[in-house]
Amino acid sequence: MSILAKFSQLQQTYDQLGALQPNPFAVTFEQILSSTEGVIDGRRTILLGTNNYLGLTMDADCIAQSVQALQQQGTGTTGSRVANGSYASHRALEQDLAKFFQRQHCMVFSTGYQANLGMLSTLVGRGDHLILDADSHASIYDGARLGHAEVIRFRHSDPDDLYKRLRRLKDTPGSKLIVVEGIYSMLGDLAPLREIAQVKREMGAYLMVDEAHSMGVLGEHGRGLAEAAGVEADVDFIVGTFSKSLGSVGGFCVADIEGFNVLRVACRPYMFTASLPPSIIASTRQALRHLEADATLRARLTNNANHLYEGLRELGLQVGPHASPIVSVALEDQALAVRFWNALLHNGLYLNLALPPATPSNKPLLRASVSAAHSRRQIDRAIQLFGEVAVQLGVLGTGSGAPIAMVA
């Protein structure tokens, strides 16, 4: 029997999806025309599923900074920061991020995934407790698995359930770390952070917020949900990514806790991996400057997000509970979702297909992510296509237009 035999069922599911080419999990962009347009199968396609919230991937200043760093410092660092040394720009980016979040400390990781893997596996250890939202991203679950803390879950975005779990741990020794996300990546719903912070204060625990999808999106200065909810003082650790609003790749954690820097020699996903290339650091720093200086980016993003959310809701499609740059439409079954997704793609609209068990309710999702760089015309076209395909496939006329239930 092959070593891969255990994947036979997964292989079968994957092959079924591919029957209606292209396979939703193997899309290739032949060309990128702008931050909102590409070419797929020779067709000009609107990109509405790239998490490119501020549209900075093709920003001229970011590219110029990146090119300069590439020419002056080379293509890669060829090693880890601990073993092979940091470049000055790694430190500078950490200082920029700490200043932006008004925190003392920052550590930069090579991906957002590694930031969660590193922080969660290191901050809590044997005898400590991790309390995760049940709908947490895979990187949070994987970080929990890599470490040695006891891991328990509370019901998605349910502060009362969180309270109950902390109460059960009340007399148990060890540090307790609660982990939530600013915006959840599947439905675009926001954590009830004010209430969660209150539970944290009352029960005594540390709180980490993953602002991957909310940095540059929420808050007056773009610092994310903690800023928007007015609870930054209660949030002990913020993790995030460069691969969304900042248009590159990498991750970070900021905090005020004393002694933070010891993590640089304790955190394995930070220590035993190559550091980010200087060209990435340079574009990320420039993107952060844009994010800070240009509030119109956030305003355009919010307008576009609201326009798409309202447009799809008015059509009668089942959208998520909050308008945010992630707008998801739930469909009844997988075969329908795959046909819907294919029809949109053939008409020049790319977005993401998410299937259970990766989705919070047991329904497949068509997941759009809006950008500040989308034109009103592109969003209108997306709404129009959704409407046409929904009618063709018989989705509309039967849908209730009710929000998707967050818990099955």
């Binding site: 929990a144 891991v151 328990i152 359930d161 109950k164 059960r168």
Partner: protein, 85 residues
């Protein structure tokens, strides 16, 4: 098995029957995933229900070792004892 574990088993089986679409015979030796065909989301929600029912939290590493109804019963019993201690 003690008296308390027998009571726990009755509760666990009742909770499982509630989420199954059809009536199925369930015993202590029933494999929760393999025999009942529940998906991971249904399992997660079932575990959250069980945790509430017994006022315990089952850590994920312990949940990973649970295959049969009796495995779950033993885990619950141990956690309830720990809670009372």
């Amino acid at each position: 098995m003690t008296d308390s574990s027998e009571n726990i088993r009755v509760d666990v089986i009742a909770a499982l029957k509630k989420i199954l679409p059809r009536p199925v015979a369930i015993s202590g030796a029933t494999h929760i995933v393999q025999d009942l065909g529940l998906d991971s989301l249904a399992i997660m929600n079932f575990m959250l229900e069980i945790e509430d029912r017994f006022d315990i939290s089952i850590p994920l590493d312990r949940a990973a070792d649970i295959a049969t109804v009796d495995d779950l019963v033993l885990a619950i019993e141990a956690l309830v004892k720990q809670e009372k201690a």
